[in-house]
């Protein structure tokens, strides 16, 4: 089941001892994380473990108190959100945040914003550059709509789309900027098993077809174990484990973090059953 994708040698994103403190609470505590180019890496952990806070640090909403965030060799911690985006890091949100009163295709066009060079003066006199960019933007918008399977829904307001379509549109908007790193915050939240399967497949195709490095937060262990090349487990802001899915599954600390002390005995049964199921499938 584990991905056999060939990983690049280069490190895409790396956090070095990143800490974020709110008042007296250390939400993220000296977390080290390193994701090679072309990997699908997951961050898991119980609620309140600091996963989203770490995302917010990477994407520039929060400035970490300590530590460095390095994206392709360049320090990006404390940069403004929009410049982080223009470096090639795009993200989605736990609770979908589209531009609800814009059409689907407009959402994607706005997502391409950092790539536009024409400014407002170009727009007013309608220069060649502006016209070209506009044409390319719409083309790109159509292409991405097709890519995420929303062809024909482009002129509907984002708020009127069904839930699953909104999730995919959010990813399309993130892709519009041709990112090199995609941060997905619970991409399968609120989905039924079929939709989840589709989404899992889709995420893998993002990496395989577009070569984008993906870092995701996910609660659905089935998805995580299925697609991850690497898993990082956070608990109370601290990294408690890191490794390949199989290593994480059997890690005592992780099981205890999720189920409390003594939880490992509980999971034995579950793992046994899972093995049997695998045997049947294979």
């Amino acid at each position: 089941m584990e991905s056999t994708h060939k990983l690049g040698m280069q490190v895409c994103i790396e956090t070095q001892k990143v800490s974020k403190i709110f008042g007296g609470l250390t939400a993220v505590n000296a977390v080290n994380l390193s994701v090679p180019e072309g990997a699908i890496a997951s961050i898991i952990g119980p609620n309140g473990a600091g996963k989203t806070t770490l995302f917010n640090c990477i994407s520039g909403y929060y400035k970490p108190e300590h530590g460095q965030i390095i994206f392709y060799g360049q320090q990006i911690q404390g940069e403004q959100t929009y410049s982080v985006a223009s470096f090639g890091i795009a993200r989605t949100y736990q609770n979908i945040r589209l531009f609800a009163d814009m059409t689907a295709i407009e959402n994607i066009i706005v997502g391409q914003y950092p790539r536009f060079t024409a400014n407002w003066m170009d727009a007013i006199i309608s220069t060649r550059r502006e016209q070209n960019e506009e044409k390319i933007a719409i083309e790109e918008g159509r292409r991405l709509l097709k890519f995420v399977g929303l062809e024909g829904l482009g002129d509907h307001l984002a708020r009127n789309l069904p839930y699953g379509a909104q999730r995919r549109l959010e990813i399309a908007r993130a892709l519009a900027n041709k990112p090199r790193l995609l941060l997905l915050d619970e991409p399968t939240a609120g989905m039924n098993p079929q939709e989840t399967d589709k989404m899992t497949h889709f995420i893998r195709s993002l990496r395989d077809e577009l070569g984008i490095t993906i870092l995701l937060i996910e609660h659905d262990m089935r998805v995580v174990m299925d697609i991850s090349d690497q898993i990082t487990v956070l608990d109370y802001g601290t990294k408690i484990a890191e490794g390949k899915p199989r290593e994480i599954q059997s890690n005592q600390k992780v099981i205890e973090a999720y189920l409390g002390p003594g939880g490992s005995s509980l999971t034995k049964k579950y793992q046994l059953r899972k093995k049997q199921r695998h045997a049947i499938i294979n």
Partner: protein
């Protein structure tokens, strides 16, 4: 939950009773009667309108009261009795309020006490009209009777109309055929037809060229004002309608444009007498720069601070202009007179007709700019910031710079409007730059349809054009604005002509209908997303 019809009637009646009493206290009963007289082609000559028009006015209020009491959606399909009961009780309560007021004021007037020291609008004439020129008791009874009867009868009629299948189908057919005509393929084809559109433009262009020459100075003045307000509305729309940052003190930039222009062209106080066009350009630039300077420290703060800071800024500017401190520089409270008019190739160009042309051209230019900006990436970025600033920043939009640009452009356009205004009136003074100007502009943008260019035209005509025609309600204009703002925000926050998003994916009609998510209602309703996440 089912409430008793009488209770509902009493509620509606109380509201209408309060409205009724308030209308009497602010003297609107007289104005209303006068308006009705005017509409019926019989304007009052001797000051007070005829009693019959007042009776009609009261009946109208009663009818409205009865209909809205009967309209409450808690009655079954054929509970005629309930609805009529509600109408009756509403009318009775409303009439009671009016009658008590009429009795009190009638008695006061009978004792020759003038209440105008405290309630300016309640003149003895209006009291005597309110009590139907009778003594207090009879007047009160008459008021009660008129209100109750009209409310009761109208509720009866309303329920009949609502329950009668025949009338209902008739109404549905008419409205259906109207909407069919409006939305019919032929008309939309006509609108999309290139030649038809060019023809339309041609007609508008000819009208715009001919009309200012023919309709005379008064209408040129009225529509010149409307044009300047359109420019202001288009300007404010950039920062408020698209970028979503409320600017209350927008008049500050108007004032800066007007004064820059006036001081550069007027003989007093500086005697610079610059050329119209250079001064106009400078007025625009100075206003734009002031917008930039105001926005620089404020725009990265919480949104509503911009509203309050610009409000403060506009008050500062007005007070400074009015004070003695700057009299030598800006002419002080008396303002700047003999502001220069436009010239064209050395010859003067400032009759009212010429000026109307300049305003028309300015309106066209500004709407063209606005149109281009709306469809540009910058325009989309503004809307994105308006909808969700956090996400907009995460998609790579530099929200601060975008908002700054929007504010500077808005301010520059206000500067243009100010310069034109000063030049047309050949005068500018502190009283031209009251806060009410800015509030009018906010109103017209919102009423017309926030973020929508045609909506702003509509709003400007409705808010600046109509009051010029209906001179009677001059004093009540601001009151009506206030009510309008509250009601609009509650019932139709998107305005009369709401903004539409452009069609960019351009699918043909049949393809679109087959993939319309609205055609899969189950899909939509079960999976409605949990909102914007805020």
């Amino acid at each position: 939950m089912r409430t008793s019809p009488v209770r509902n009637g009493i509620q509606t009646g109380t509201i209408f009773g309060i409205i009724m009493v308030m209308m009497f206290l602010i003297g609107f009963t007289v104005i209303g009667a006068e308006l009705i007289g005017k509409i019926l082609g019989n304007p009052s000559i001797s000051g007070m309108p005829d009693l019959i028009y007042f009776v009609i006015f009261m009946i109208l209020v009663g009818v409205w009261c009865g209909v809205s009491a009967a309209k409450r959606p808690l009655y079954g399909p054929d509970s005629v009795k309930d609805a009529v009961l509600a109408g009756l009780s509403a009318g009775a309560i409303c009439g009671l309020c009016a009658a008590v007021t009429g009795f009190i004021f009638g008695s006061v007037a009978a004792n020759h006490i003038d209440v105008r020291a405290y309630l300016v609008s309640v003149s003895p004439e209006s009291i005597s009209m309110f009590t139907f020129n009778q003594n207090p008791t009879l007047g009160a009874l008459a008021l009660f009777g008129v209100m109750t009867l009209s409310s009761f009868l109208s509720a009866l009629v309303a329920v009949e109309v609502r329950t009668s299948q025949k009338i209902r189908t008739m109404i549905e057919n008419t409205s259906g055929s109207i909407s069919e005509t409006v939305h019919s393929q032929r008309i939309s084809d006509l609108l999309n037809n290139k030649y038809a559109r060019y023809g339309f433009y041609l007609i508008v262009a000819i009208a715009l060229i001919i009309l200012p020459r023919t309709w005379g100075g008064y209408w040129n003045y009225v529509f010149g004002t409307v044009g300047i307000y359109i420019i202001l509305g288009l300007g404010l729309n950039i920062i408020t309608g698209w970028a979503g940052q409320l600017v209350i003190g927008y008049v500050a930039f108007f004032a800066i444009g007007a004064y820059t222009f006036a001081l550069l062209t007027a003989p007093v106080p500086h005697n610079l007498l610059w050329n119209f066009w250079i001064a106009l350009a400078l007025g625009i630039v100075v206003a734009g720069i002031s917008g930039l300077l105001i926005g620089l420290p404020i725009l990265n703060l919480r949104g509503d601070y911009l509203a309050i800071v610009t409000l403060g800024f506009s008050e500062i500017i007005r007070i400074l202009l009015k004070s003695d401190l700057l009299t030598t520089f800006t002419g002080g409270p008396r303002g700047v007179h003999d502001v220069g008019g436009p010239t064209l190739f050395g010859s003067s160009f400032n009759t009212d007709v010429d000026f109307m042309y300049i305003i028309i051209i300015a309106v066209l230019v500004v709407s063209f700019l606005a149109y281009r900006l709306q469809n540009s990436h910058t325009g989309k970025a503004w809307v994105a910031i308006n909808l969700d600033e956090t996400v907009a920043r995460a998609t790579g939009i530099n929200a601060f710079v975008s908002k700054l640009l929007a504010l500077a452009l808005s301010a520059a356009i206000a500067g243009l409007a100010g310069a034109l205004f000063a030049s047309r009136n050949q005068f500018t003074g502190p009283d031209d730059h009251q806060l009410m100007v800015a509030i009018n502009v906010i109103c017209l943008v919102i009423v017309g349809g926030i973020g929508n260019i045609p909506g702003i035209f509509l709003g400007a005509f409705a808010l600046k054009g109509l009051p010029e025609i209906l001179r009677e309600i001059e004093n009540y204009r601001m009151l009506v604005f206030g009510i309008l703002l509250i009601v609009m925000m509650r019932l139709r926050p998107e305005g009369f002509l709401p903004a539409k998003r452009p069609v960019l994916e351009k699918f043909t009609a049949d393809q679109r209908s087959s993939t319309d998510p609205a055609s899969h209602p189950g899909n939509l309703e079960t999976n409605t997303p949990p909102g914007k996440g805020k």
